[in-house]
């Protein structure tokens, strides 16, 4: 395969509406309504929203698993329902199950063979991916029946990347994964970004998305309610935070006085704390708990 220098829009969603027929009386439920969205090449894009907001349906339309009721979805300019479009995609479904009777290694190999890979190229790719997701330590020889949720998620990530696709779609990649696994998946996403991949993430875990996404779209009840670059949406433009070390109380009073004199207002004051996640990671690391799965 030869990948030629790329550019802008890799996924285009134009006026997408998806309705599901509920019963024989043809009553429908609208999962997504009039959605317009563009994902650019090389960015990490997050679709956020509560459960039932239409995130997974949108991803299913992009993957050609369901067809749009109205509108159009293009992947690299190809209509998403065409199998040709799937050649550019890697997909990790929410709570992946896979074939329980296969081992982790056999699973990645199966998907690789399905994509036409074989011989030494397949062997080295499988090894490389198992190493990337941290399962090349003997656990790859175990049947998936005995895998934890976090390990299944890693195998899911490995199969999604097996043909080195330019676009990777991750549906709730950290749902049900412990903080260490979650951190590792975050690192893999950042690594993919570094390699020039386009990553589309659907999630309702906002803090984790905030750490990796360049742009986000927030959906609710099937409708897009907000879209934009994260660094433009999140910061409070008229505020600034400063963390000071070793400041005496009397000096603190002087600083506060100065801020008042210059027309500023102290909105919040307190002692910064480590996050519970950092505390957890530190505690586990100190015990040398690498085999958390």
């Amino acid at each position: 395969m030869v990948w030629v220098r790329c550019m802008r829009k890799v996924i285009e969603i134009k006026n997408l509406t998806k309705k599901f027929v509920l019963d024989w009386r043809q009553r429908t439920m609208t999962a997504v309504s009039g959605l317009d969205l563009t994902v650019n090449e090389g960015e990490v894009f997050g679709i956020l929203g509560p459960n039932g907001s239409g995130k997974s349906t949108t991803l299913k339309v992009i993957l050609g698993l369901v067809s749009p009721t109205e509108g159009e979805v293009l992947v690299q300019g190809i209509p998403a329902h065409q199998v040709e479009a799937h050649r550019y995609l890697g997909f990790l479904p929410e709570n992946p199950y896979f074939y329980q009777f296969l081992t982790g290694e056999e699973t990645v190999r199966f998907y690789g063979r399905l994509l036409g890979m074989k011989g030494k190229a397949l062997d080295s790719r499988v090894e490389e991916l198992l190493e990337l997701v941290g399962l090349l330590d003997g656990r790859q020889k175990r049947r998936l029946r005995g895998y934890s949720k976090g390990m299944l998620q890693r195998i899911g990530l490995a199969q999604a990347l097996v043909n080195d696709p330019p676009i990777v779609i991750l549906d709730e990649p950290t749902a049900g994964v412990d903080p260490i696994g979650s951190r590792e998946i975050r690192d893999i996403i950042l690594e993919l970004k570094k390699r020039g991949k386009t990553v589309l993430i659907s999630s309702h875990l906002l803090e984790q998305v905030q750490e990796v996404c360049d742009r986000v779209c927030i959906m609710d009840k099937g409708v897009k309610i907000l879209e934009g670059k994260l660094n433009e949406l999140v910061p409070l433009q008229d505020r600034v935070a400063v963390t000071i070390k070793n400041l005496r109380p009397e000096d603190m009073l002087a600083v506060e006085e100065l801020i008042k004199q210059r027309g500023g207002e102290i909105v919040e004051k307190g002692q910064p704390r480590s996050t519970l996640e950092n505390l957890f990671l530190e505690a586990v690391r100190q015990r040398g708990g690498k085999d958390h799965d």
Binding site: V4, R5, S67, L74, G77, E84, Y99, F110, Y111
Partner: protein, 307 residues
């Protein structure tokens, strides 16, 4: 607009028998490791072996009974394996969401469907082949035991009547036993059974391609098998007094549901009717054609199904 140059340069994606083979071999592994299949197979093998314990009939009738009993058991076990195995294929993939990871890859839906179908058919065929081998073995050992029994009876009769045992008499009796045991029609019957099971699997896959319920698929498939095996009875019963409504009904049933009785030749074998290869080939051709038809309908439903 998306820049065309940004797309990777790839060969056009074509229909691939290799992908079908990969999905089929994965399906074989999946089914072989399922307990239900192994239990059914063991059950079938036990039934076939048990047929040799019925020895209160005359030697000739013993062979007739064995053939009838074993062929019947093979058809029933094969049909259960075909229906249950095929009915589970798609619901399992949908429930476990494994279908998402396969269909989101460059795999045509027809490749997925055929891969699952051929994998299932391979397992059923392997099961029936094992039952056939055991059936052959049971027949062979029965032949040896009946020959021994006949020889002993002849010996006893000769001793009672104080006669000389002639070689020709022994040889004639042995030939009679061999003729009752070895029957080329069995090969044709088993060939027809394979085609029958292929067709039953295709019918079940067709129903499964639009059904959302495993129970619905299994029940409807067995109903179709029942109607397919009994429609000739309705035809014969209504032949004399065919009202237009009954005629239309029978024609519709005959059009939609294949006549599965064509594949059941056990009765012909029991009464000693010779099956010719021409008729057998025609029935096989009919079965294969109907299989293709049901697979095409299954594809049509699955192609537009939202997963």
């Amino acid at each position: 607009m998306t820049d065309e140059l940004s797309k990777p340069v790839l060969k056009p994606l074509v229909f691939s028998p290799a992908r079908i083979f990969i999905i089929a071999s994965n399906t074989v592994t999946e089914l072989v490791r399922q307990k239900v299949f192994n239990v059914l197979l063991v059950f079938g093998l036990v039934i076939i072996c048990s047929s040799s314990f019925w020895s209160e009939f005359s030697p000739e009738d013993q062979f007739k009974f064995m053939k009838d009993f074993c062929l019947g058991a093979m058809v029933v076990i094969g049909a259960v394996m075909s229906v249950v195995g095929t009915a589970m294929l798609l619901p399992q993939e949908l429930e476990q969401r494994t279908v998402y990871t396969i269909l989101s890859k460059p795999v045509y839906r027809i490749e997925f469907l055929l891969g699952k179908f051929f994998g299932q058919v391979c397992v059923v065929f392997a099961g029936v082949a094992m039952m056939t081998l055991v059936f052959g073995g049971v027949l062979y050992f029965k032949e040896l035991s009946v020959k021994k029994q006949v020889r002993a009876e002849l010996q006893r009769a000769v001793e009672v009547h104080n006669l000389k045992l002639e070689d020709k008499l022994v040889s004639d009796q042995m030939t009679k036993v061999e003729n009752a045991s070895r029957d080329m029609n069995l090969v044709k019957a088993i060939l027809l059974m394979f085609v029958n099971l292929l067709l039953i699997s295709a019918i079940t896959l067709c129903i499964s391609s639009f059904s959302n319920s495993l129970v619905f698929t299994v029940v409807i498939s067995f109903m179709i098998i029942m109607i397919g095996n009994m429609q000739h009875i309705a035809r014969e019963a209504w032949a004399g007094s065919m009202s237009p409504i009954k005629q239309v009904f029978i024609k519709v049933v005959a059009f939609v549901i294949p006549d599965l009785q064509k594949f059941n030749v056990a009765d012909d074998i029991i009464v000693g009717r010779v099956l010719d290869w021409g008729g057998t080939s025609l029935t096989c051709g009919y079965g294969l054609m109907m299989t293709l038809l049901f697979l095409a309908v299954a594809w049509m439903f699955f192609e537009f199904r939202e997963v």
